[in-house]
Every structure is written in structure tokens, then in C-alpha cells.
Symmetry: none
Subunit: 540 residues, 2 copies
């Protein structure tokens, strides 16, 4: 295919990644993760530890037809038992897997302390377990746990674990920096020594991020000869996490010297999906994606710098280390108080708003933005409010409704049966379609009550906001104390999956929330092409 | 002092860090960040870009007496203007700063494209700007922007930028990986070459995290001879962020070979506060700390029950790359409630509360804490509320006052002259010293009104809270949408400089605020040794 060497990617999201604090994969989630990994194109999927818990046991009960080698994790046989008389080992060997990855201790101190056996017994356990896996028709891998700490303490013993595993027929022997504290220069030196004893094409690296070096350590091992990298999706894992495959894969495919030296199983098409796959994984875990993640973060190609902005627009590629679309991400140049006119024009273009750069309204808009950002507005986080403000200055936003007044009351009192309860109620009075409408509603708190009242009766627009949903609500106090300015950010969505962000700023949290709520509704009506007479004029 | 070399730490949280997507420092926040940096012990604080925006300009108007060198950032003089006729340069030179850090282009392509000037003019601009800074009595630094991309394109020109800055008298010339795409091995090779031309004791590194290598790249430059590292608190910064000083500092102080080679300005005591300082910074930005952050993350020394748990309990240090307490963090093994109880006992001892480990009230307290933390309380951030809860379970907190009911109203309406105004009013009814008292007050918003009403008349306790002040108020929405749970954290203080933190959690933001407010007052009364009859029994 090419004269490049093959670099093998081993994913342990479902095994070591499952040690992440606060995370528990269900069986369905495990299956969904396998789908993501298959789309990505890793070579090994370590699915878990059959016998360790009911989910993992169930997961390995029926065979999976994966392109990747489906791998079961487990311990080497227990000392003092024969291979045929170790139920833990049997569970692994009988699991529906292509490969088996044994974990073996490679630090003399731990062999004696944690296992309480001799070094010789430990080596025998490795050799016999690998032999048993091969006899069961499975490929064998051995994770040498605490390898780098073990090497520092007793290099001969650590090396003999690796050699024993290799000679017994393990396809891969993986050097684990289990405690995560080893520096890249040490990793490189030690792996180089290992690769003088066992071919690097059989050596893997398993790094943790306790000093922020999991990615650098993985690449250091590859430079020293290792040809398998173990890691996880988005770098999840115990403590500070494992090596992040979502960061490593673009580097391996796009950066010298790796791109010229190695073939990896991830295609260019899969690379172009990596941003989506990374976010899909976060979605599955129900956590917010890391905005600043290398390559795939929402801000990874976002520039705020005023001093750079005009040059970036001229020749973006010289301000980007890779083209964002190669990893399925996109470029954003933000509006901020450091922004100039060229920045603003490109932002407007992104919203489909064409304005001549000499249009005087542009200056007014720019000074409005700066004034409002000085008050605490942050339009870079609120696209919809930004677009509304721009279109208002340009004169193209209809007045759908006009709020005459509102009143919100929160009352804490003893109810009829003597319990302390807190009740929130809101009343709004709006002019809509030539009529004045008053609505009242309760809610969990003042803002929720206000939201419920405001959306209760919008007259001719009621249908257009039927599927509008508030997805997130964030509050930030800008200058301390309860008398300070409050910034409210609201994320809204509709049934078609559109999402938009609006903002409000005021010393009064209810006022700030109200601004963001009305912006969200107005934005939705504008995008639906509703006119101010309530007629649907165009689908989006 | 020692025969170690000095490694200089340059913090750019307030300048490059301010480029972070979604972040806008206010003047007060900038001052609070300086406090954190001074406690940490960095050598340089880059405060911003005077002249670029009103906040930065104001920040540099009055001198700051920092231990660190207080540094203003700005561009070198514009081509075609003399040093004395460049208002941008003048703003920087006249700013209240010890040092000036000029940014200069070091990529021939950008000089021609973005600046549209000759390479010679660029070099002249560097030399003249440095000269002007020295003439103004300031130390000069030069950030060579796009240095590594520039070096790849035209090494001679890139090197001549560095040499020109150094010869003109710049104390530091900083090599910037502006686009963040350079790999550690390239950084190391290139910095080595630079250090053959200019002494490494004058060379700095400025790395970005676009490939997850900002920390590794900083250390690679140090290995090659650079002696200044630029970075930010918690690695904030444009796109994927800057080099994370909170990760780098423990590595430099604790890991070979750095700990044996270098002296850094951060003391061992400051290192033991680094976890607290990191979280205080996140608190300031009102963002959730990264649980998985190296060294300081809440999970950085947390092991999930599994194959390691029992061995970790036997000999924890062989499962940890450093002792957690050295960086002010703590070990957590999620195995049994036993671990929880000993933790709790040591927490109580910290507040001067001695309880027997067999006391059944301890089990109740532990289960209360677990239940409340599941609801969203975070006692780690609210010492005073934690102490109150503990003392309540142990039965030693008097009931100073009892709130019968409260009512808060927020109304938006047109006033007599037709302006839209929002008015907030609160009424509270409390039993205090055997009497029922009703108070009413207005405020900027519902919580401020409630605070004003609550503190208007506390009967016999009024004097004891006369100097109580609300210093900060933070709101976090725990599960999105306006119907979600709200967590309110309040920081209070008194005239003697004591500060304490209280917390409230409720679906209703007013309720949550009210809990935190009453906790703050109760805590203050308890600490003042006030009895529930209003008599002062002991000074604190």
C-alpha cells in the first residue's frame, strides 16, 4: 500500500476510560461507543473486563463483528493455581473476543507487596497466561503495569517481564506509565532500551496525563520505536485521564515527522468527522464538550485578537496550524471590544448580512457593540442577540410584540399544613398584533415563572414558538456583591435541532433574564420568517 | 542561595489569557488576578495592552506595587513614524509599568503581508522600540511572534529578529509558537540553535496548546537552553489556550531533572497553596474547575475502587506520582464510608471541633453531607456553611432568629415620565429575641432587596452585624434551563478582614440566595460569641 510503517491504535475508552471519576457505562452506551470507534477506525477496541462486573460480563457474551480487534482485559493467572483452575482467567478466555489483554505487574516492589509472590512466579504467570490465550485461539497482549516506575527501581526485572511476554507469544507488550508521573525524555530513553531487546513492532505505550504529558509521552515512545499507542476518546480515564486519541490522531496524520513515517487505520474521511465523533461521545456521556480541546474544540480555530483580525481575513491559513475543515472543525473570528470594522464585516457576512464597508450604520453598530460590551454584554457567546442587534441597527427586525410591564413575586411562607414553601408568580402585559394581552403563570423560580407567563399567550405568534425550548441558563455576576451587574446567557432550541444563544445584562437578574428571554423569542420569530402581522412568509 | 540556575516565570493571564473565548476581565477582576499571581510567586505579570481598550488603559493608569515585574504589552513602533510620533508606542511607554513587552513579527511572510513593510524596516522597528523603552527607564522584552513558523520559512530572518532585539538591549527575547502547531522535537532543535547565537539566559518560550503540547513544548525549550517560560493560570488563552503555569510549576519544582537544575520564584508554601489558587481563579471566572487537571484537579489523586483499591490503602505512595499534599490536593479512594469518616474527622478538627470517631452523630453528619452534596451543595467552596451544618448536627448553634416569611417583588413598568424602570422590593417577617419584626427594603435586584430587608432590623443582634459586608455573590445553574437547580455562593467579610463563604441550593434562585444570606449572618453571630439572648459572651 505504501512504504510507511504501520502505527497501531488501541482504544481503551471502555476499559481504562471506564475508571473515570463519576462515569459508569451502561451496556447500551458501550455499544454506542463501539460504533463511534468503528467510524473513527481504531485497530483495537478494549471492551472491558469480563467477570469484573455484570455489564462487562454481558458485553462479552455475544460476539461483536467489529473491524477493529475486539479485546477483553483481565489479570494474568493467579499464583498457586494452574491455568485450567483459575475462574478469572477462564472468564476472559471464554469471552467473545478476538484478543485478550493481560495486565501484569512489572515493578518488583508491587509484585512482592500487592501480590505477595516471588518475581519468578510473576514471570511464570505472564508466560502461562499468554500460552493459555494462544491455546484458546486468541491473540494475546500484555500490559506491563507500572513499567516505568518498575524500570527505575529494577530495570532487569522490568525488562524480563517484557521479554517473557514477548517470548511466550504476545503480539504486543505494552509499557504502562500507570501512575502517570514519567517525563517524556525518560519515556523516550527507556523505550529505546526496551526496543533493543524486543522489536518495536511489538511494543506499545500506555500513558496517563498526570503531568499534562500523556500525548507527548505517547509520541516520545513512538520516536523511540514503539508501534502501538493506547488511549481513549477525549482523553477520559482515571485521575487526569489517559492519552487522548482525539488529539493524537490528527497529529499523527497531519504533522511531520509522523505523517510521513506512519500509516494509521483512520482514513482522511474519518479524520474529517473527528470533531463530530468527539462531540457525539461527549453527548453520550452527557457532558459539555471541552471548548478548548486541541483540533476539535469549538474555540480551537477561534480568534479574538483585534490586532490579528484583519490579517487573518486576508490570509487565514498563515494564522492556523492546520486547515480546520481537515478535522471537521471551522474558523471563527470573534466580535469583541478589540474588534475592528473588518472583523465586524466578516461576522455579519457569516449571518448572511451584506453591508458596504462605507455604510455609516456600520460605525454606529461598532460603537453600540463596544458600549454594550463595556456594560458587560459578551456577544461572542450570544450569536442570536448579536444578529438581532445588528439587524436592528440595519433596520430589518420587525416588532413582533411589545412588553408594557411585568411583575414577578417570590414568596416564602408556611402553607396550610405548616411546611415552609416558596412560590413564584409572574404577570406580563404585552401588546401583540394590536391587542393588549395579560398573562400570569407560576414557576420554580422568578425567571421560570416569567418565561412561562411570557410564552403563555403570544397571540398570532403562539404557534411559531410552540416548540421553542430553553436548554441552558447561565448566570454570571460581573462585579461581586448582590448589588452588582448580572449577565444572563440563555441557550434555546427547537424541534428541528437548531440552537441559539441570547444574552441580557442588568443590575437586576430578573431584568437581565427577561432581555435574554425576549431576544430568544424574537430571534425565533425572525428566523421563522414570521412578519409582524403574524403571517408565515418564508420557511427557514 | 544555591548553585541552581534561575528559571523565570512570566504570567500572561491578563494579556494573552484575556483572548480566551467568552472571557472579558473587568478592572476589579484584573486586580483580583494580580493578587493570585502574587501569592503564587511568578516573576512577571503582564497586565494587558494599554491603549487597546478602556479597561487595560485604566489598569495601567496608577502604579501597582507588585513583587513581580508589572509589564505592559504593546506593538513595536509603526513603520514610517518616528518613535516620538507614535501614539500607540507612547501609551505603552507612559503606562505605569516596570517592564514593556513588545510584540514583533518574526515571519518574513507576515512582515510583508500583514505589515506591508520591508524586513529591514521590521528590524529597525524592533531596535528603536527597545531603545525607546530603555530611554523611558523601563526594562524591555520582545515577543517574537510566529517565531517557529518564521524560522521554518526563513531561519536567517527569524534569527536576525532575535539578535536585533537582544543587541538593542532587550532583557528577554521570547520565541512564540503563535499558531501553536509546532512539535516538541522541533521546538528543542530550533531553541538550541537560537541559544548558540543569544545566551539562553535571555531567551523565553511562549507556547500554545493546539496539539496538546504547550507544557511539553515549554519544557523542551528549557532543555534546549531557554530560561523564561510564559504561561497562564489554568492554561487559559486563545483557541486551545496557553502553556498552563499551574501544571508547569509543580513539574518544575518536583520532577527530575528540573527540580535539581532550577530555582523558581514559587516557594514550597506557595506550591502547597496551588490547588486553592487554581480554584480561586476558576471561581473568579465563575467556571467549574477542571476535575481532571494535572496536580490540582479534584480527581487528580482519586482512585476508583477496582483492582488497585486495597493495595492503595496499604501503601498509597507507590500509587501516586507525587504526594498530593505537596500541591495542596488530597487523596481520595472511593472504596468505603470508612475513608469518608476519617476525612470528615480531619475536616472537623480543622474547625476546632473534636468528636469521638465512634460518636453516632458523626454518621448522621456524614449522611447529611452526602445527601446535600447530591442535591448540589459544594461544601468545599463554603467553609462557613459546612461548619454551621456540622455544629447544628452536634447541637451547638443557637437559633438567633427565625424567618417566618418573606416576599420579594420585581416590577417593570413605565414610570411617571414614561421611562421603563424595574423596581425590586422585599418584605421579611422574623422572630428575634421573642418579638416579631417586619422590615421592608428596596434593592437593585431581588436578592439585594432581600439582603437589605433582612439586615434592616435584627433586634438585639443589629450591632453585631453592623460591619458585615457582602463581598461576592456567585450563581451557578447546575442542570441547564430556567427550571433547574441553582447554587448560590456568597462571600462575606467584616471590618477586621475576616472572610467567610456560605452556600444555598434551590430550584428558586431567591430561595438559594436567602439560605446563603441567613447562613452568613448566623455564622457571623456565632463567631462573635453572641448568645441567643443577644449578649456578647466572648470576643473571637
Amino acid at each position: 500500500m505504501s512504504d510507511k510503517e504501520t502505527l497501531t491504535l488501541f482504544d481503551t475508552t471502555l476499559r481504562d476510560g471506564a475508571q473515570t471519576h463519576g462515569l459508569n457505562f451502561s451496556l447500551e452506551e458501550k455499544i454506542a461507543v463501539v460504533d463511534i470507534l468503528e467510524e473513527l477506525g481504531v485497530d483495537y477496541i478494549e471492551g472491558g473486563y469480563p467477570g469484573a462486573n455484570p455489564t462487562d460480563t454481558a458485553f462479552f457474551q455475544s460476539p461483536r463483528t467489529t473491524r477493529a480487534r475486539f479485546t477483553a482485559f483481565g489479570m494474568t493467572k493467579r499464583a498457586g493455581r494452574s491455568v485450567s483452575n483459575d475462574p478469572g482467567l477462564a472468564a476472559i478466555l471464554q469471552s467473545a473476543s478476538d484478543s485478550v489483554c493481560f495486565v501484569a505487574k512489572a515493578w518488583d516492589y508491587h509484585v512482592r507487596l500487592a501480590l505477595g509472590i516471588s518475581l519468578e512466579e510473576n514471570l511464570d504467570g505472564i508466560a502461562e497466561s499468554v500460552g493459555a490465550a494462544l491455546a484458546a485461539g486468541k491473540e494475546a497482549l500484555v500490559d506491563c503495569e507500572h513499567f516505568f516506575d518498575g524500570y527505575a527501581a529494577d530495570p532487569d526485572f522490568a525488562l524480563s517481564c517484557v521479554e517473557t511476554a514477548y517470548r511466550a507469544g504476545a503480539r504486543w507488550v505494552v509499557l504502562c506509565d500507570t501512575n502517570g508521573g514519567t517525563m517524556p525524555e525518560t519515556i523516550e530513553t527507556v523505550v529505546r532500551t526496551v526496543c533493543e531487546r524486543v522489536p518495536g513492532s511489538h511494543i506499545g505505550i500506555h500513558a496517563h496525563d498526570d503531568t499534562g504529558h500523556a500525548v507527548a509521552n505517547s509520541l516520545a515512545a513512538v520516536r523511540a520505536g514503539a508501534r502501538q499507542i493506547q488511549g481513549t476518546l477525549n482523553g477520559i480515564g482515571e485521575r487526569c485521564g489517559n492519552a487522548n486519541l482525539i488529539t493524537l490522531i490528527p497529529t499523527l496524520k497531519l504533522k511531520a515527522p509522523y505523517r510521513d513515517m506512519f500509516e494509521v487505520g483512520v482514513t482522511d474521511d474519518a479524520l474529517a468527522d473527528i470533531t463530530v465523533l468527539s462531540r457525539r461521545f461527549d453527548e453520550l456521556l452527557n457532558r459539555a464538550p471541552d471548548v478548548h480541546a486541541p483540533y476539535v474544540g469549538a474555540a480551537a480555530f477561534t480568534t479574538k485578537a483585534g490586532i490579528h483580525a484583519s490579517a487573518i481575513m486576508k490570509e487565514p491559513e498563515t494564522y492556523e496550524h492546520i486547515p480546520p475543515e481537515v478535522v471537521g472543525n471551522r474558523r471563527r473570528v470573534l466580535v469583541s471590544d478589540q474588534a475592528g470594522k473588518s472583523n465586524l464585516l466578516s461576522e455579519l457576512a457569516r449571518f448572511g448580512i451584506q453591508v458596504d464597508s462605507k455604510d455609516p450604520r456600520l460605525d454606529r453598530l461598532l460603537s453600540d457593540i463596544k458600549e454594550r460590551e463595556a456594560e458587560g454584554y459578551a456577544y461572542e457567546a450570544a450569536d442570536a442577540s448579536f444578529e438581532l442587534m445588528a439587524r436592528r441597527v440595519l433596520g430589518t427586525v420587525p416588532t413582533f410584540f411589545d412588553v408594557q410591564s411585568f411583575r414577578v413575586m417570590v414568596e416564602r411562607r408556611h402553607n396550610a399544613i405548616g411546611d415552609l414553601v416558596t412560590v413564584s408568580e409572574a404577570v406580563v402585559k404585552i401588546d401583540v398584533g394590536g391587542k393588549t394581552v395579560m398573562s400570569v403563570a407560576e414557576g420554580n423560580g422568578p425567571v421560570n415563572a416569567l418565561d412561562n407567563a411570557l410564552r403563555k399567550d403570544l397571540g398570532p405568534y403562539q404557534d411559531a414558538i410552540a416548540d421553542l425550548e430553553l436548554l441552558d441558563f447561565k448566570v454570571r455576576i460581573l462585579n461581586g456583591s448582590t448589588a452588582a451587574t448580572t449577565r444572563v446567557l440563555i441557550e434555546s432550541g427547537d424541534s428541528a435541532g437548531h440552537r441559539w444563544f441570547t444574552i441580557g445584562v442588568s443590575p437586576n437578574i430578573v431584568d437581565a433574564s427577561f432581555q435574554a428571554l425576549t431576544d430568544s423569542i424574537t430571534y425565533r420569530l425572525m428566523k421563522q420568517g414570521v412578519t409582524d402581522h403574524g403571517l408565515q412568509v418564508a420557511a427557514e
